[in-house]
Subunit: 502 residues, 2 copies
């Protein structure tokens, strides 16, 4: 077979695999959004069957042969063909390391575990989730052994989310970040000037929140002809095909922040998904996202760099007042903006703020590494969690729903995922600075509700490229510099320094 | 391989096939309920891939071999094993007659056609749907040729929905039914006593309709822990697994009848699905519905025999008044009951009444036979439809959305489906009479909102049996008589005679 024929055959197979993978995506979305609880065991069997089918088709030795044959003539190393082959090769070598039985058992276990996690969280009862967590950790450790690693089994897991990243790198990254953030937290906590937090508890009827969230998503450019917004326990974004991007949010009547900023966050993920090539490349790496860190940079950019900025609310605040008659009438833009940028130690990561967020991530990173390397038992997670919360923030969660049961990730078996949140924050500030340099100044446009220049820059520089570049290379190409925490920390210190007068 | 081993192997394969089939079910449900329009082409590819995969796995020659091996020791002919083998054998022989390319092309075409049908109906523009209808008819004719038939290609299609039924039987059934129904229509139309139809147009806010519909479904025993209700253009029921039965309805503010009776209708289908064995038999014929005619008998029984009866509304009318404050306060139960049992010539089948309904079906049956036998062209459907409407009812649809574009069936490629509606009506009356004899009288219980004795009888006599009996045998076993139109016509003439004083 010629390299060209081998490549064509691979394209056909991989696009068919994407169809099956996105089928599992629909089942997963439905499970978290609409499926009745009694449907869980059967759904688990379906997802397990599909996961097994995909694994079987992708690890077919013929696929490996075709990749090697096609690699005989890869062409331009940054061309579509070479990019696809590079990523297929990496995934192929990685995925054939897992026996199909392990893939299926993980899919079945996590599908059931998610339902149990929802119940355990509702009941504030870690013990109910513990046996599932134990099983998932054991399976994850098996995965790491199958993948192989040089120094730490955790590195084998990181590879799924941020290819090439190691815990050694993270062990260098987190300590200085913690240090400068802790200093900022201390300044903010002792600042005499503090926002009026009661603003955030004003009752906003949920149907009006729904309407306003839809308006926010539309404003930043989320295309509802090619997507939806629904409700789930833990907000998420899932791309189900070209022209079908779904985001979710959650609502509490006396916590509008939760739904507004979840929507902007997931909307940012959604813009990335909608910005990927939806033409003939769909279903290949050339039309796929680079990494979780880069994905998270897009969500955090819209949620924080844009969505918690003063220019954004110069546009949105009058609309807010109109949407919620009588709720915010007495309020100044400045008081509102200060309130949505409050920073203080808190329990819930997704409700934490830009300053404290990465300290939450650091805590999870430490626990994950300890669990995977066997230094911590699942049964001891609540104690370890509460101890770390006390050390980082000086507070102790009143129950596990506000502690170690708050995140869905472990019930998904997603160990190694959390650190990508911090990478996302660092990338977001570095990208935003580059965008402002090239397509700004944005402020006067944002104030008028015009977010198109920023969206266009992200579409062209990041989304349209798919996986052409690895994360680090993309960052360097687009911003002119390797990833650094400077942009992020400078941004935080400037913004929060001004807000709190510190 | 021993017959026992062959049977075990078949069970494993068929349950896996059911998992895949129900996966397509989730995709189909989502497509009609929540999917953004731009997702349609990709969804069509997914459904086509799954249909091809299922066809391939089911028509694998090994399956045929296993069936024959297992049939060497079938056991009791009404035992679980023999029932499963009987149905697998029939389906296997039938499905291997279709080439996979035809199965896939039909799936792809109908998936796109459904989207186009929605748009054409909205635009009242048959021309937009016509090319899709032409393509579907051509593919359907190909299917009939592949299946083979003795007298009419239409018989080959009927087999999908009501095994064993022929157009010759229907040609005997419809004319006398038409005659006795036409006589009743004439009497009703000229009766001096007529209901106040303005009652049916009273504005009922949709959120309150939603709450009341949920209450109706709960009242008849639909289990929301094991099911959902959503909204779609054309109401339908789909079983997605044990513990996951989904029904849909539709809402118009000034047409409460539409949502109430769609809910009871789909609720009846839902009760059948929830009543099928959900234990180890799930995914086999032993836990599947008998035929569309029997399925429809369950929906019509709850919609009409129960849901349009006076005892039902003695219970529900006070709840209705409470749910819609001020809307029905001035009304007597009798006036309301007469209004929801109005009968008169009308355009829309799903909004027609118990008396005229089967005349709508007869019209569709005639057109379908003419299309499939090549006596009528797709382009001439609007003219043929309007001519038949004039003959049957003396009225002409103002546009195609109220004429030949009103039903989703043809966009699904479901030719041969409509006659099962009439069979369902006949079965429903015959079953209800038997149930009343054995577990009644129901009236005093219905008046108190207690529908459990009827539900229990249906669960035990019909639902729990799965496909143990063929439709005709089931009817005879449960009611003591072969199917006859007497019960249905007697019921109609008695009820409508009393209401209209004719």
């Amino acid at each position: 077979m010629t390299p060209e024929k081998a490549y064509e055959e691979l394209l056909t197979r991989m696009k068919e695999l994407a169809l099956l993978g996105n089928t599992a995506g629909v089942l997963g979305w439905d499970q978290e959004v609409y499926m009745p609880g009694a449907g869980a065991p059967y759904r688990a069997d379906q997802l397990s069957l599909l996961a097994g089918l995909c694994h079987q088709k992708f690890t077919d030795p013929q696929v490996g042969g075709l990749i090697d044959q096609a690699l005989a003539a890869p062409g331009d190393p940054l061309g579509d063909k070479a990019v696809n082959l590079r990523e297929w090769k990496r995934s192929y070598e990685r995925s054939k390391k897992l026996p199909q039985s392990l893939v299926e058992e993980m899919a079945r276990t996590t599908s059931n575990a998610q339902v149990e996690w929802v119940e355990a969280r509702k009941a504030k009862d870690f013990k109910r989730f513990q046996p599932w967590l134990e099983k998932i950790i054991a399976l994850t450790q098996q995965q790491a052994e199958c993948y192989g690693y040089e120094k730490s089994p955790y590195d084998a897991l990181l590879e799924d989310y941020e290819p090439g990243l190691t815990s050694a790198q993270l062990d260098q990254l987190f300590p200085p970040l913690k240090k400068r953030l802790s200093a900022l937290v201390a300044k903010i906590t002792s600042a005499p000037k503090q926002p009026d937090l009661s603003i955030l508890k004003r009752a906003c009827p949920i149907p009006l929140q729904q309407a306003f969230c839809r308006r926010l998503a539309e404003a930043i450019g989320f295309d509802f002809n090619r997507g939806r917004i629904d409700v789930s326990a833990h907000p998420f974004t899932t791309g189900l095909g070209p022209g079908d991007t779904r985001i979710t949010t959650r609502f509490e009547e006396t916590n509008f922040e939760n739904s507004f900023f979840s929507t902007l966050h997931e909307g940012g993920h959604g813009l990335y998904d909608q910005g990927l090539p939806s033409d003939g490349h769909y279903g290949t790496p050339r039309a796929s996202a680079v990494s979780l860190g880069i994905h998270e940079s897009q969500s955090r950019l819209w949620e924080n760099l844009v969505g918690r900025g003063l220019p954004f609310w110069k546009f949105a605040f009058p609309e807010l007042k109109k949407t919620f008659p009588g709720v915010f009438d007495d309020l100044s833009l400045e008081a509102f903006h200060f309130a949505i940028n409050h920073s203080s130690p808190s329990f819930i990561r997704t409700e934490s703020d830009e300053v404290t967020y990465n300290l939450h991530v650091a805590l999870r990173y430490d626990i994950e590494v300890a669990l995977i390397t066997g230094k911590l038992k699942a049964a001891d997670v609540p104690e370890a969690w509460n101890k770390a919360m006390k050390e980082s923030f000086g507070i102790t969660p009143p129950d596990d729903s506000k502690g170690c049961l708050q995140d869905v990730h472990w019930s998904h078996g997603s160990f190694g995922y959390f650190p990508t949140y911090t990478l996302g924050n660092l990338y977001s500030a570095q990208f935003f600075a580059a965008a402002a340099r090239e397509a700004g100044p944005f402020e006067p446009k944002f104030e008028k509700g015009d977010f198109l220049p920023l969206k266009k820059w992200l579409n062209e520089k990041i989304h349209a490229e798919g996986q052409r570049y690895l994360a680090g290379d993309l960052c360097e190409k687009v911003t002119g510099k390797p990833l650094t925490s400077d942009f992020f920390l400078d941004y935080l210190e400037k913004k929060f320094g001004a807000l709190y007068g510190v």
